[in-house]
Symmetry: C2
Subunit: 460 residues, 2 copies
């Protein structure tokens, strides 16, 4: 329960609260524009049509892959077709991890019975020797528990099976409380003498889809493979182990990390009419994991960023400050695009804000603002978002891709959406078009367009 | 834009507004209980498990069908198993409309080409003669346009093709602006000399699923059949007609209305410990249309109502006033359950509120309260729902099943949810389990449990 963590600023409060007496002017000034933006977003269906195009003509697009290169071209062409200003690519070197063609696993019972087990290789994992790995499973719920196993972990496949806490209201908090197993499981397994990390998928649902995601290694510890199984399989294997069954897994992976390759952030803008050197960045990431279609993660954020510019242009709304859409490359396994964007020298430019949409194309609820001055300025604008229920202005926010801009003092913001469905599809085969509702996606774009346009006119 | 149609009552406002100074006590009093209710709803997953059971063991359940009878037994047994008080059936006579086994249609081109057309019979429609109906299509967007056609409508299948207005923020408003075509199309078509009504499905999406729903007749006008086609087919046929193609449809239906049969509202309660004769009704409707699984409409409302009682009982929360879950029968095509419940004599009882959940098992946003005194009392409780974003307390609300209680002065209330996805599945094959997210469903139940319990303790 965190009731006091945020504030609503309804119009009637603003009207009657003297310290905010100047704000209704802003709300009144943009009320009509807001209405037009929402109608254009809902009626045109363009954000969903663009997501459809990205997801079906290209599909998933992991950094360094041919599909990622196609997505770069797709985004550039799309923005050129809309006639945005200054459409260009900004090169970045990105890691190239490939799953390869071999990914198979069998569950082996003490009786000799053997059954196929659906797995997914974790992103960044090494492969196995050609003959694969065959070892007994030992289950733990935490790194502490693993450490207490001592010798018992030696030679084993360490099965990390602590579920995401479904009681948490925030699914991201639940994810944060479990994802150490995926991120650090292989290191900890190897440190304990294990031969691989087997991770329960990161979702609160019990279903049969394995979810991938990034995992790490450190130079001082042997690199052992990391794989994930579905929550359904995790529950089943756990039950069998509890019954005393001595289960082994045999698996083969051909994953490998290849040399870095060149890729690109894709950039387009509406150049400001009065203060073109003051820039508001809006963005999402163009890369995805290599299963599913990367629809919510983060095709949604990309098409919404394009949609913001398209809507403003279509409505003839000329921003006084520059609004720049950036489709970042390599959020999932390196953040090279975000780091590269922030590091690039841009003479004379001043970024006044950066907004990321990377929590899925779900129903927007408002914005997180990780800058106290920006928060104080924007919070009274909340009534502009109330007609579609996105008037939550919360202190705190940001996004992975824009995070490298934080240390430069640039106010970071995030589109807040309803994330109860996010981990149903996250990093899995289910992250495809059918998981996205066109109206929710469009309203997210509308919310971003309103905030962005008002900031461009009013400054921060 | 309807920004001023509702009010938020955030905690800080309450703290600083003298007329509401007494309210934080209520919020503080139930803060800890609220937290427990939400955790129980999210962790147990019972509402979804029950929906799964209803949708997969029974499926759709139109009034008067064997499946509706099974659903009555299912709900009664479920509530008995949980040990609720006073579980019983209340008989009502319901209409029995059957689609029958024949439902086929062909689109016929002037060239003689003929292709199968996916249709759904509208609920309540008469069938066709055994040889079917074959007639030319004439398209209109409104009853006015139909009237202006004059002789041209004679002998034709009148194609009502005014889309739901996707620019509307409220999907229910968009529905309300188009559903006259489905409800009154057959009457108006017959009045103009037409032989049938062909209706564009009620959804903002362009897809290939026909949606059914209720339609009416009047005694003074000939009864002609009503059918619906998908939005995709509606767009296509409209285009062909605009190109001058003289399209005919041949279709056969075996639908018929049979004599009324006996069915039941299913009732269970937690009897109040202090004022058992003061009753709060919570409910949804147990019947559905006869395609899909009736998951959102309104299996969701039923399992949420059961879940409210289950959660309170599980947590040992004994309501001072009686909380009564009612699974109404026959909302879709007669409202006999709602009418019957309101008409029944209940000596000594006083209903203090009735809450309906019938807008789908989507993310809850708050409550609509169609009673000014109740609204003033409940609005300051909003902070109890803020942790999961359901703190919108809006004046106005209700639900079809509880509406007959309105004229008796009983305060009517509705669970407000995000309805952007509602018409994607509404009354179609898509209204099945996969369209429901277990966390959103559970949070809706939690919201209802909190409101209901606080009302039971505090009165209205």
């Amino acid at each position: 329960m965190q009731r006091l963590r945020y504030f609503h600023f309804p119009l009637y409060l603003i009207l009657f609260t003297s310290s905010l007496a100047a704000q209704p002017v802003v709300v009144q000034r943009y009320d009509s524009v807001t209405n037009k933006i929402v109608r254009e977003a809902l009626s045109s269906n363009t954000s969903f049509d663009n997501l459809h195009s990205l997801c079906t003509t290209i599909g998933h697009r992991i950094s360094g892959s041919p599909q990622a290169a196609q997505a770069v071209e797709w985004a550039k062409k799309k923005m050129e077709e809309y006639g945005f200003d200054n459409v260009h690519l900004e090169p970045v070197m990105v890691p190239r991890w490939v799953r390869g063609t071999v990914e198979e696993a069998y569950l082996m019972y003490s009786s000799g019975r053997r059954e196929s087990l659906k797995i997914t290789t974790l992103g960044g994992s090494v492969g196995t020797p050609p003959e694969g790995i065959t070892a007994e499973i030992v289950e733990v719920k935490s790194f502490d528990e693993l450490n207490r196993l001592g010798e018992k972990a030696k030679g084993k496949i360490v099965f990390f099976n602590r579920p995401m806490d479904r009681k948490q209201i925030s699914t991201f908090a639940a994810y944060g409380g479990a994802v150490d197993q995926r991120g650090g499981g292989a290191i900890m397994a190897a440190r304990a003498g294990g031969v691989a990390a087997l991770v329960r998928s990161m979702t609160t649902r019990i279903d049969d889809f394995p979810h991938t995601g990034g995992m790490g290694y450190v130079d001082t510890v042997k690199k052992v493979p990391g794989i994930a199984i579905s929550t359904l399989q995790a529950e089943r294997i756990s039950k069998l182990l509890a019954q005393g069954e001595q289960l082994k897994i045999h698996f083969k992976l051909s994953a490998q990390t290849q040399p870095d390759v060149e890729s690109f952030n894709v950039v387009g803008e509406l150049t400001g009419t009065e203060k073109p050197k003051e820039v508001i960045v809006i963005g999402g990431h163009l890369d995805s994991w290599d299963i599913g279609q990367g629809a919510h993660d983060d095709g949604a954020g990309c098409v919404q960023s394009i949609e913001v510019l398209r809507i403003l242009k279509k409505l003839g709304l000329k921003p006084k400050r520059t609004i720049r859409a950036v489709m970042f490359m390599n959020e999932e396994n390196g953040l090279r695009g975000g780091i590269g964007y922030a590091a690039k020298d841009r003479p004379g430019e001043k970024h006044i804000a950066a907004i990321e949409s990377d929590e899925g194309g779900f129903m927007p609820r408002g914005f997180g603002i990780a800058d106290s001055a920006a928060f104080r300025k924007i919070a009274p604008w909340a009534p502009l978002f109330a007609s579609f229920g996105a008037d939550l202005i919360r202190y705190g926010g940001g996004g992975a891709d824009i995070s490298p801009m934080g240390p430069k003092g640039i106010p970071l913001m995030s589109l807040i959406v309803d994330t109860h469905r996010y981990f149903d599809s996250h990093h899995s085969e289910n992250d495809n078009l059918t998981a996205v509702n066109e109206r929710e996606l469009a309203l997210g774009a509308a919310a971003m367009a309103i905030l962005t346009y008002v900031m461009a006119q009013e400054g921060l």
